[in-house]
Amino acid sequence: MFAGQRINIIKKILLEQKQVDINTLTSLLNVSDVTVRKDLDSLETDGFLRKVHGGAILLEDAPLDIPKSDIPDLQEKEMIADLAITLIDDGDNFYLGPGSTCLILAKKLNQKKNLTVITNNASALSYIDCSSVNLLFIGGNVVDYNNMMFTHGEKALAYLEDIFVNKAFIGADCVDLEAGLTINHSYSLDVYKKILDKSRQTILLADKSKFDKIALQLLCPISAISALVTEGDLPEKYKRYLYQNDIKLLTSFDL
């Protein structure tokens, strides 16, 4: 079971019962108490609970996490984010794109030290601890798309003129082997295109449901990315293409 799934279960229990103890959790989830404690730590950082001796209690004004229904394929995105975080080193600097998968990744950044993050993902801001992360926000025209807020436009592009990043984590609405990475609305396109030029490595986070589909506007061909992180089993042609073109394909296995 993945960390993301466990966390969801713990949250559910807390929301129902207002409190939870470590022993119950370890036998329920079949993991060690060290693991449970780490999960509780993570939820405490998110402001969801307060740890007490032997367990935790729900914080009454816990920020209502984004309801499950609002993020489609939440579980898959958690898996992708768990994989993506392994591509980040302590001391790294990178761009974080708009969208829900990148938001979920943002919540996991406390696992690494000394990060410099530049982002136009406004929804992700409150999930990043800016006392430990050197966080830069790209100002610009704000747009709300699929309940995710981000910035774009002339001002945002101007901000990026002098910027150079080691890595860029991006998403796309659709991915097709021939057509490439495509997006339905052009809002995120301008910043993404600029970032592609300014980033040493470009890492695409895309769940399985996005593949073999084509959206309205072209962002870039598949050959432009350095790595692809997905949770499911992709068609063989993608595995072949990526391997032959020296592009990393990270997939998850629940072992």
Binding site: L242, D246, L250, T251, F253
Partner: protein, 497 residues
């Protein structure tokens, strides 16, 4: 991409289809290159890319396995450096070949003394000498022995010698290494003068900034192939050159991410087998690590693997698992102690006439047996669970011999995982797998490392080793000759430890 000169001049030096292998490994693959008089061409490549092999073939030091060499359009065999020199191809190393106790003048004209009858014509000599010296901007006292010169001056003498011998092609192999910036600048000025006189200069280097100063044309070699032949380096951005040069041995395609290194799982000290084909081995494996073990034929790596799983006796030395010394009499004991073995080469890790339910669980049935009772339902659930985890599209009821290679591999791997051991010894696990299956396998290995397993990967696939391993042990003739960290590993170091 051929040089603009090709329309105007014929190539002075041509390589066609040059290939060279060493012990079965290709070092140069089908190289085609043309070099022109008066042109300075840089050859850029990382260590192990093949540049030294290429230069040595061009200098007559090595013979190609395949391909032809042409000088002024005529096919030649450069059987030795001496012969190459006679044909006008001069090879200049970092350490110039000068006679230390002779002076500059003597070295420059060594073998090319101008004779007047039986005696050396002093006047003619001195005239020629001054001409050369002036050209080379060598203000050195002609009488002093060359042993007293600095490296840059020695190099100039060597070049002067080549000129006097009538060199048409100069092969300069990383010559600027010992020079200061000033000396390098001066050297480059002289080389450019030489080119203007019609000499073809081939400048080998691994320093990108240098080559931009010296030449317009740039040939990039990587993994034994010419990856680029650029007419004008000004047209290409540095990052692109680096990319063409490094390509990281196709390292990026491997789904390897750094896992936290935990406690030591397996430790081997001064271990040897009875026959002595494996001698005095030290080896460690930690949680979170994928460690490679490789070597050419008869290196002993296969035998060492067998020793670690109880298939061959450890005659001397200690084997410790989780810090406890153990003696393994057979693979079953190895498994009980936490080690499982998987070989990609053979299918005798599967009972081909049985179905997947049997094959997956058979090694570890006691895990499912409760109070002496083995529930078929439990067997089913467990097998299906592991097959599902590995995304194997397999009907577990079918006898495994009908499955595809990739799926057979997954059933065998499910069996390994079902034993729940932390130390996995994998021998050539990707052999016989197609690309999609390989990508899956590597992702599985990466995931296992992140789950605190330790994997010993025995392989002859250099790219796989460089891509997937945190450390690599290189064996030869039964001993560990070298140990490389991830950041140090490259093809050259694995071949030429």
């Amino acid at each position: 991409m051929s040089s603009a000169n090709s329309e105007l001049y014929e190539s002075v030096f041509k390589l066609a289809g040059i290939s060279k292998s060493f012990d079965g490994r290709p070092l140069l693959k089908n190289i085609d290159l043309d070099f022109y008089p008066g042109q300075i061409c840089s050859i850029l490549g990382e260590n192990g890319a093949g540049k030294s092999t290429l230069i040595k073939i061009m200098a007559g030091i090595l013979q190609p396995d395949q391909g032809d060499i042409f000088i002024q359009g005529k096919k030649v065999r450069l059987k030795s450096p001496y012969l190459a020199k006679k044909m006008g191809i001069h090879f200049v190393l970092q350490e110039p070949h000068l006679v230390p106790f002779l002076n500059v003048e003597q070295n420059v004209f060594l073998g090319n003394e101008m004779n007047h009858g039986l005696f050396i014509d002093q006047k003619k000599h001195l005239d020629a000498y001054h001409k050369v010296i002036q050209f080379m901007e060598l203000d050195i006292d002609p009488a002093i022995p060359v042993s007293e010169l600095n490296p840059s001056q020695k190099m100039n003498v060597e070049l002067a010698k080549a000129i006097v011998m009538g060199a048409q092609v100069l092969l300069l192999d990383e010559i600027t290494a010992p020079f200061s910036e000033q000396q390098t600048k001066k050297m480059f000025r002289i080389i450019k003068k030489l080119a203007q006189q019609g000499v073809c200069v081939i400048f080998v280097s691994h320093k990108m900034d240098e080559i931009r100063d010296i030449s317009k044309r740039l040939v990039i070699i990587r993994d034994g192939n010419i990856t680029a032949d650029i007419e004008n380096t000004e047209d290409v951005v540095s990052d692109k050159i680096v990319q063409l040069m490094t390509g990281d041995s196709f390292r990026n395609r491997y789904p390897k991410t750094r896992a936290p290194k935990g406690r030591i799982l397996l430790e081997v000290n001064h271990v040897s087998n009875t026959s002595g084909t494996v001698k005095d081995i030290d080896l460690r494996l930690h949680e979170g690590e994928i460690v490679g073990l490789t070597g050419l034929r008869e290196s002993g790596k296969g035998t060492l693997a067998q020793m670690l799983v109880g298939m061959e006796k450890i005659a001397s030395g200690t084997l410790k698992i989780n810090n406890e010394a153990v003696k393994l009499k057979n693979p079953h004991e190895a498994m009980k102690n936490g080690i499982v073995f998987f070989s990609g080469n053979d299918t005798n890790n599967l009972f081909l006439q049985k179905d997947s339910y049997f094959n997956v669980t058979i090694s570890n049935l006691f895990r499912l047996a409760h109070g002496g009772y083995l529930s078929p339902r439990e067997v089913q659930k467990a097998s299906e669970s592991y097959l599902h985890k590995l995304k194997a599209e397999v009907d577990p009821n079918q006898k495994v011999h009908v499955l595809s290679t990739g799926n057979k591999q997954k059933v065998a791997f499910s069996k390994i995982l079902f034993t729940n051991r932390k130390i996995l010894i994998l021998e050539n696990p990707s052999a016989n797998l197609d690309i999609p299956s390989k990508v899956e396998l590597y992702n599985i290995m990466n995931t296992l490392a992140h789950k605190k397993c330790g994997i010993l990967l025995i392989s002859s696939d250099i790219h796989e080793l460089i891509g997937m391993c945190d450390r690599i042990y290189i064996m030869n003739k039964g001993q560990v000759k070298n140990e490389l960290e991830y950041d140090e590993a490259d093809i050259h170091k694995i071949f030429y430890y």
